[in-house]
Amino acid sequence: MTVQLHTPLGDEVLALHAGDHVELSGMVYTARDEAHLRMQKEGIPFDAEGAAVYHCGPVIHNNRVIAAGPTTSARMNMLTKFLLDRGVRAVIGKGGMGEAVREQLCGRGVYLAFTGGCAALAASHMTLRGVFFEDLGMAEAVWILELDHLPLVVGIDAQGNDIFESVRARANKEFGRYSKVQGLSDK
């Protein structure tokens, strides 16, 4: 079952569970490292209430989105709290986020994962609607994108369930079956 979501988001995101497939429509705002730093300093240029922020540095050509896959979200681990405090309900990216963001999302919002490398597919679900902070350059600017049913999966839900964390725990346990290596450094 795929859950349909539309921005601005509200309390419906609280009912989502890690592992749920969703399709997101409506406006989202791209932001990478530089945009987060700028928004912290100068304020958020869009209405943050119910907004969705997408970790993405798209390729824009002739006012069209050519490629817009996700970037690694963990780089924004320390830069996300102010957005959630201001009402952002969904963070979209790849690879998951740290423990701090998992706690900050509790009772407020969700982390949605989009498949890394799927830039052409992402672009086919998007229309460019505007831009903030264009002086930061194409990759770092905040682009306003209108999504049409972008297929995502809930990576971290509002109850503290985190797929990435459970996968990590299982992988670590599996790796435990290899004995510790006795190398030169251990003597």
Partner: protein, 278 residues
Amino acid sequence: MGTPDRSAILRALGRATADALREAVIRLPPDVKRALVCAAAAETNPVAQGEFHNIVRNIEQAETLGVPLCQDTGVPVVYLTIPPDVPLTTDLYDAVAEGVRLATKEVPLRPNVVDALTRHNSNDNTGAGMPAIHVMPGRKFSVTVLPKGAGAENVSRIAMLLPSQVEQIERFLVETVLLAEGRPCPPIVLGVGIGGTFDGAAALAKEALLLPIDEMTAFEQQLCDAVNRLGIGPMGLGGDTTALSVKVKFAACHTASLPVAVNVQCWACRRATVEVER
């Protein structure tokens, strides 16, 4: 046959390089598509099935629209095959760089190449030692490109193991993937270089990524199975397939050495070969 026109050969080499880059960033090789479709069909985890579904649709979308699969169009790694009648001179390197500039404008490719320390972007994907060009002798005059994205390249590792640690090769590979988690955009391909020298092992690991990935030796299959037991899955979201394939190249080495290099490659295992027309 008259004297070959050197400038025409150089132009053709530049053109072939640009054509190979365009092909590589838009269309995946048949063996890679086969491996992805196979893994997608075998996947039992519903979240992973969704990731595979997106990957397969993305491949189709890129081909239909003629646009790059991924916005990280990589740095240009080039393997030149030079036949006996083409003298290997520095102008061949310049011609390949010209082809990279051409492709950057035409395709277009994202300008990824910067100065290592100042981080100044050349905006044409060339710079000191870039494109990385490797030359091998052969019968045909051809250009093979392997555009290499940063996510997977950044989690690649090398170990100078002890000669007594042959059994630890598998552990080192599995540990590399464990540390990488979802960052290299799994399902990944692992190019492995075993033996040779410190630099040689790394070069072998990258060359291993040129081999067809839909066939594995028993040793490669054993390593691949070991990696997949981690269950990291597509994008680190869990699943049966963390690695699509492991490919290994060997070289003889010093009796006191055992270099092992792992070059990690995202699912978009992009490569293309174009013959130079002359």
